[in-house]
Amino acid sequence: MFGYLVRRVLTMILTLVVVSALVFVIIQLPPGDYLTSYIDELQSQGEIVPAAKIEFLRSHYGLDRPLIEQYWIWVTGLIQGDLGYSFEFSLPVTDVVGDRLLLTMVLNFSTILFIYVVAFPIGVYSATHQYSWGDHGLTLIGFLGLATPNFLLALVLLYLANVWFGTSIGGLMAPEYLEQPWSIGKALSVLEHLWVPVVVIGTSGTAGMIRRLRANLLDELRKQYVVTGRAKGLPTGRLLLKYPLRMALNPFVADIGSLLPQVVSGSVIVSAVMSLPTTGPILLSALQSQDMYLAGSFLMFLALLTVMGIFLSDILLTALDPRIRLQGGVQR
């Protein structure tokens, strides 16, 4: 297992290096750069920008350097904790991002926790009580969760939270805490506001997860070893926990890898709708304005989350079920 862990870490490094190069190249692919967009915008307002000033800005921001050099400066900066300079905000990216990365992580990890905590018992109940009233009711709620657009659910829940609990509309904290340093009151305000986006972003993921766990568990429950276990008099709960549930967990665990990026990218639209101070809205605007260091840093953050998620799910899957598949060869 230790050897597996080390090899996986090595693969992860390689993946991140390739992703960083891809992210940088893709951001540069559209014609022009941030400066071109900026100058076009000024010219459309009737302002004339002198050629000398354009050259000065290009050299000042390092946009006149070869692509590979720009990439190297960006990557080495990332490792040193320097995320680059945001042209749009005229500030270092770390200052622009501020608490947003932390709040994004809090929001996304809470959502994943919500998905697992809700989906697991419901999935198990639905499978073990197939075609009961409870199963039908939970399945209906699951389908509703899958079918309801996130932005619509967000608007409905924002209204209800405001009417029932007096929670302020939009944002992840009450307006009075916006520019304040972190305090217990601010943290409590975040918790008070957090549940709405968590439920909104988590609903579709939860519904999908319930369906998958239910289907996997039903497959296992129909297998002969379960029938044999029952015939031998094993208590139902013990039989369920020890064998079929463990087998049904594999796809559930494998989902961690895809869930992280799914939740993060899903939260971009919801963040825009709910005015959440997360990375989503800034990422959208950075991509539109070709603010390459800001967009690149966010995309690398997403890539890191994805790679970490897949790494985590691979480790758990290998620990759960280290079985050979017959088409795969064993190295000697």
Binding site: G3, V6, I79, G81, T318, D321, I324, R325, G328, R332
Partner: protein
């Protein structure tokens, strides 16, 4: 009695992995200016790869002897497990590829003295596994589902190994 060793070409690949890992994680630290949370992660990973390299050295020095009475691994941590004392056996398969191909196996034999781990890169791995499977059947050791499945993949039928 048969004696098994790890071929140098198998160990060489692990040395390369360890070297690449240590260099990748130590180089930024050596250059300096790395933010402390990143530095902590990098230092941990560098240690991980260094330990992996040391393990590869340990494997190079190891000889696994399989006799009628038990299995011994001599090297940095000499260990002997008599077949009669073997309390657990597991055979795991690991692969870093998506399609689970080109992986490797690890045989773990647990006795009172400790655990002997043998990787499939060792010479004549099948015969070590076959002898261990026979001993596990004789001792009535319960094998997990993954181990049974992996034994079948190696062409070792469990029923045939029963005395």
């Amino acid at each position: 009695m048969s004696v098994h060793a790890y071929p140098v070409r198998a160990i060489r690949a692990d040395y390369m992995r360890a070297g690449i890992g240590v260099v990748c994680f130590l180089a930024p630290l050596a250059v300096g200016g790395v933010a402390w949370p990143v530095a902590a992660v990098f230092a941990t990973c560098a240690v991980l790869f260094a330990v992996f390299g040391l393990r590869a050295m340990g494997r190079q020095a190891t000889r696994v002897s399989v006799t009628e009475t038990g299995v011994s691994a001599d090297g940095w941590r000499p260990l002997h497990i008599a077949w009669g004392e073997m309390s657990a056996m597991s055979l795991g398969y690991y692969s870093t590829r998506r399609e689970k191909g080109k992986g490797w196996m690890q045989l773990r034999l647990k006795g009172e003295a400790g655990t002997v781990r043998v990787e499939s890169t060792i010479e004549d791995f099948d015969s070590v596994v076959r002898t261990a499977a026979r001993a596990s059947s004789a001792n009535g050791v319960v094998l997990d589902r993954a181990t049974r499945s992996n034994l079948q993949a190696l062409g070792i039928a469990l029923d045939e190994e029963r005395p």
